[in-house]
Symmetry: C2
Subunit: 352 residues, 2 copies
């Protein structure tokens, strides 16, 4: 029997709740498909930081390297500034394991009402390939003359040819397997250094993919167009920051942050990829038992898919879409129900 | 009779069409209110660039200084990259005349259907104060090792204390005159240099305005929340780039880019402010005679307001809202009608 070793970092807030609720569902799907997952749990996160002054141990990233994949719940805590927690855990893993593709599907499922008038099930289905290791999230910059009138802060976005080419190529490849339409997000009218470079690289890479048609869209226009004409998007490729903003819009127009899965993918075998629900730690509902576990289950589906276990991946994805399409099934408050995390997970398991 | 000298730069594409159509309406409103406007027209823009290699003359900014105000149509042309046209005209004026407040109201008018389910007239009414001279639009950065594997581009966002304090203060002042609620947009979890500085300055300035309650919102969450709960926003303060993205979302959820006005305001008398519709040059509809002139008329209303001519400002604003509320009035295709630019303008004039 095949077996995979998965590092599980439940993290903060509802991260723990959704990870715990989803695990039996996920293990059942694996068993059905004839493989096993061994999970090793890491108590990394803000509780640990408050205790010991570090979000994860110094050799944290090295410890993850040996695993087949990593699953993360959420990071973020009301008592500690986000730039401390995120720079202490989530962002160093994305960078340290060179997970340069942040892949985020946005699908409007049957049974979910979009906040957009006139949009129904199946009308929205696109995937964002977000650059995940550099760009506007580079830790480059500083702050000088603190407290003086001439105080200045600089935050430098860093785009490398290697970093830009490889995310472009991953997105083009995805487009060849989907509808063949790629939208490249830019802001070259105002950011003449970084974004003109981005445009040039995308244009070069496009020559390797003559079957893909490429549209260039400014990030502000793209934000509008995701509201105005989301049905026309297929694959979107964007920088770290632009991808962050556009995927949150994508989650919103497809009905709930509680449904949005994501993968921080390192293509190739050198490092494990990491999968996580997009929603974050949601301090406002921690402990209420109403966190939506579906984004977590969908993220596990992406994880299985990434391992090549497509049957288990499909089983999880289908369990979720079946449940959403079933009017009598339990659902959490964020998508209009009144059920708890555990009920929804148990119902999912019964659908496998 | 009071009289104001206004520099008019119709610019490119539909900029010319909407400026020309709106001018008689605007002059009539001024006459009704007992003042005159003298307009001086500048042929700056991309046609000039194609002819003479420059978007505006070298002393362009100095020439504008003597005016009471500036009106801009649009900049952008299919034959010339945007970073050339924008950096040749729009952006240097904003910076050169120190127009540090980009003020953009977002109102859902009666007669306009929002793309958001459940939102009706009056449900959305907020204003964005966007920093307009620095931040992510600073011309700081570069590109090295062109064409080599180690090619790298850097785009540095620059935030000064002076620049950040003054936009924060302007936004707090606006909040005291509105509902007293200010949302500060940040991305401090990922951009620990610039955005933590931004947060610190906003927190400091907030002490001068104890009556204003301040909410901090990450830009990705804000993009979502403008779709999820736009009725809860009052005044939003944001950096140059974040303001750009969020105001386009604002225009979209309030029904059309063709309705969104804006002011690039230099508070104080040292320099004129500049007003412009948000929509841009729209090459796809140039020459069709269907460009919506309403954003231009609303921008003139903001211009008059800025000059202290509130009666004329109100008259123009009311003419627009009356027309939109009137089912039998002509409207352009972007808001569901089939009328042309000229008809809409003529109808507006008849409402004054
Ligand atoms: C928490 C934050 C740093 C993170 C990001 O901006 O990448 C989150 O918003 C996301 O999209 O995964
Ligand atoms: C044309 C472009 C440079 C401009 C901007 O980004 O500021 C526009 O989008 C706007 O919002 O006025």
């Amino acid at each position: 029997m095949d077996s995979y070793e998965i590092a599980v970092i439940p993290g903060d807030g509802i991260g723990v709740e959704v990870v715990d609720a989803a695990l039996p569902v996920v293990e059942a799907a694996a068993a059905d498909a004839g493989f096993e997952i061994g999970t090793t749990r890491f108590d990394w996160g803000t509780e640990r930081y408050l205790d010991r002054g570090e979000m994860m141990p110094d050799d944290g990233i090295d410890r993850l390297r040996g695993f087949d994949s990593v699953f993360l719940g959420a990071v973020g805590h009301p008592e500690v500034p986000d730039h401390v927690t995120l720079h202490g855990l989530l962002l160093p893993i994305r960078k340290g394991l060179d997970q340069y593709v942040c892949k985020r599907p946005n699908v409007l499922f049957e049974g979910i009402e979009s906040p957009l008038r006139g949009y129904g099930p199946g009308d929205v289905d696109f995937v964002v390939y977000r650059e995940n290791t550099e760009g506007e999230y580079a830790s480059v910059g500083g702050r000088e003359h603190r407290g003086f009138d001439h105080e200045t802060a600089v935050q430098s976005a860093l785009f490398t040819r290697r970093g830009t080419e490889r995310i472009a190529r991953a997105a083009f490849e995805a487009a060849t397997e989907r509808e063949g339409h790629l939208t490249s997000i830019t802001k070259s009218n105002a950011q003449a250094h970084s974004m003109v470079f981005w445009d040039d690289v995308v244009a070069e890479v496009s020559e390797e993919f003559p079957s893909v048609d490429v549209e260039r869209l400014l990030v502000d226009a793209a934000a509008m167009d995701l509201i105005r004409r989301p049905h026309e998007f297929d694959v979107v490729v964007a920088s770290n920051l632009f991808g962050d903003i556009l995927t949150d819009i994508g989650a919103q127009i497809t009905g709930s942050m509680g449904l949005a899965p994501s993968g921080n993918v390192h293509p190739g075998d050198a490092n494990p990829s990491m999968f996580e629900p997009v929603h974050g730690s949601a301090p406002d509902i921690v402990g209420d038992g109403v966190a939506n576990p579906l984004a977590t289950v969908l993220s596990w589906s992406m994880l299985f898919d990434d391992l090549g276990e497509t049957a288990a991946a499909d089983a999880l994805w289908t369990a979720v879409t079946d449940q959403l399409a079933d009017e009598s099934a339990p659902r959490t408050p964020d998508i209009g129900g009144s059920a708890g995390t555990g009920n929804v997970a148990a119902d999912l398991r019964s659908r496998l």
